[in-house]
Symmetry: C2
């Protein structure tokens, strides 16, 4: 995820955030909303989730301008109970919808101990960890799941793409160590990695991609018209399906055969997501819990590595380190994409991002 | 999971349930508790989770008699809020602790929409799906996770067994179709399958088991002294770790380096588990939701299969079919294990199970 693009240029985090905000405002978002989306997108770029940050800007802008996303949505609670809510995103940017959903979840969890908040009429919301991590500041555990906007996975035993790469993120607060943050898709490989392999002229190992006849695909250039295999065979298929039911069907959104591709710029996606916040202090003294998480984190880091491995890591550690480094040294960006951003800026009549 | 043992004998479901109940009562459980545990164990045998039903009886009995499990626990709520609770299992049978936890979760979810209930001082509870499915009868979605009692998984990049096969189960109600029920461990292969390979004289494919030096293990007979690899590499490692934090560390139970092996008959395991119940009607009309789950289920079943595959399945379908078949024809049991059960019966001074 945090592999450096070849011959990368860099932009300063704050410059990137301001550019994304300018672009979103130029596409019709109110300033405060443009800022909030830019912040969530920058989160991905900082933590090394390079596939979910600024590289998505052209697609978002295209969809905003074509009417596929509503730039001025009335995001609201459609249904609620003491510890649950269903958010109607009114086809707004997913980052805004899930930011709203996370705030509702945290408020309810503060009062009741746990809350589950689903969203319908949402859109792509960027990096899953962004929302799972929001409850951390309130000493809560966060869990986020989403229904992906394209179907690239077939059920085990089948060849029809009825499921997406449906991701899950879970974040757990620690005391002195960086929080434990898992952010994974349910497919064995991401398109980002496939693209990297294609760029590097490498072939893919078997077991990650197959064609519609069930034959293994090892040429990364063929992967666009093929199926991504789930992690652990039927286990990953089952997880993807469950996230589709919990994040999509439960909220009344498009899944399976009804999925609207993110590539259809003018069609509302009716994306579904869900977030859970769980108040850790309800299970024991909060500092004791966080200290025990520290111990687990240190036990893992201090455990015996495989030959050739420097240090064992735990989920979230690499993203934490990448964010610290990128705040200092800037965020790398592919040369080809610099040109795309400059074209986008010209098109929107705004200043392009200054590079370092 | 539902592979038939070779040369299997069979016992009728009700006969198996009564035998397990007799044995547990003889080991000190009150009759009602013995019945409840036997029922939960039979659930596993019926659904084809053969590794988590009657085959566990000798271990449970040994631990009950050695003082490793408390036969007459005071299972109680140690902490609670509107939508959360921490159950103290008082070192009772895990089946009783998690049955109690599930009831608390469903009551709270009925009132608040969702509930998260953790357990400490619990023990092995059998099949994960058993508890995730309890909320189905009340039109709730169930989610269960557990910290396994033995560490067989190393963190990715490491070789120290600091994590278990920590399972998750999620159950979603449908209207006319069998419910969607996922029940998976976070390792790529289970010991049950490894044993099957050993019995059949087959070798294991690479990528499932490795030795403490990181080398692949393909001889199933070597797997007892080796590491089980997680599903999807670091993804499965991350999931196992998260379930350990959510099911164990949050509840103040033994995890990581502190894990007590289930093989130490006289040591309380302080096992941790958690269950969530989510009231589906809070997100829209319940029948509409369940009908949409039916549609997803039928779309999957009706989708194009791989060459050589009869029908595409969804999680829970096979277990549902196995249970129906086994209620009719009885539950298969390995010949070698029949002898073990007869010895156990003699030892406890109870009648052995009648076989079909």
């Amino acid at each position: 995820m945090a592999e450096e693009p070849k011959n990368a240029r860099r932009f300063a985090a704050e410059e990137g955030r301001r550019f994304m905000s300018r672009a979103l405002a130029a596409a019709g978002l109110p300033d405060a909303d443009a800022d909030a989306v830019a912040e969530a997108m920058l989160f991905a770029d900082l933590r090394g989730v390079d596939s979910h940050g600024i590289v998505r800007l052209p697609t978002y802008i295209r969809r905003l301008r074509a009417g596929g996303i509503n730039p001025r949505p009335r995001i609201h609670i459609a249904r609620e109970s003491d510890a649950t809510a269903l958010i109607d995103g009114d086809n707004g940017m997913g980052h805004l919808v899930m930011g709203f959903a996370a705030r509702v979840a945290m408020e309810k969890a503060e009062a009741r101990g746990v809350a589950w908040v689903g969203a319908r009429a949402s859109n792509h919301a960027g990096a899953a960890a962004c929302y799972a991590m929001m409850p951390l500041a309130r000493d809560m555990i966060g869990l986020y799941l989403a229904v992906a906007n394209n179907n690239h996975m077939a059920p085990t035993g089948g060849v029809e793409p009825l499921l997406g790469t449906n991701p899950i993120a879970i974040a757990v607060p620690a005391l002195e160590e960086p929080p434990v943050v898992l952010d994974i898709a349910t497919t064995a490989i991401s398109f980002g990695r496939i693209r990297n392999a294609a760029d590097a002229g490498e072939s893919l190992p078997e077991g990650l991609v197959m064609d519609y006849g069930g034959r293994p695909v090892t040429d990364p250039k063929q992967a666009d018209h093929a199926l991504l295999l789930p992690i652990g065979g039927y286990k990953g298929y089952g997880l993807a399906l469950m996230f589709s039911l919990l994040g999509g069907v439960l909220n009344g959104t498009a899944t399976g055969r009804d999925t609207v591709s993110i590539d259809e710029a003018n069609a509302p996606g009716n994306t579904g997501q869900a977030i859970m916040a769980l108040k850790a202090a309800n299970f024991g003294p909060i500092d004791e819990f966080k200290r025990r998480v520290d111990t687990v984190a240190r036990d893992l880091r201090g455990s015996k590595p495989l030959p050739g491995v420097g240090e064992v890591r735990y989920p979230g550690l690499q993203g934490h380190g990448t964010a610290a480094e990128r705040r200092r040294s800037g965020i790398p960006i592919r040369p080809g994409f610099v040109a795309a951003l400059n074209r986008l800026a010209a098109d929107l009549g705004i200043a392009p991002p200054a590079l370092l």
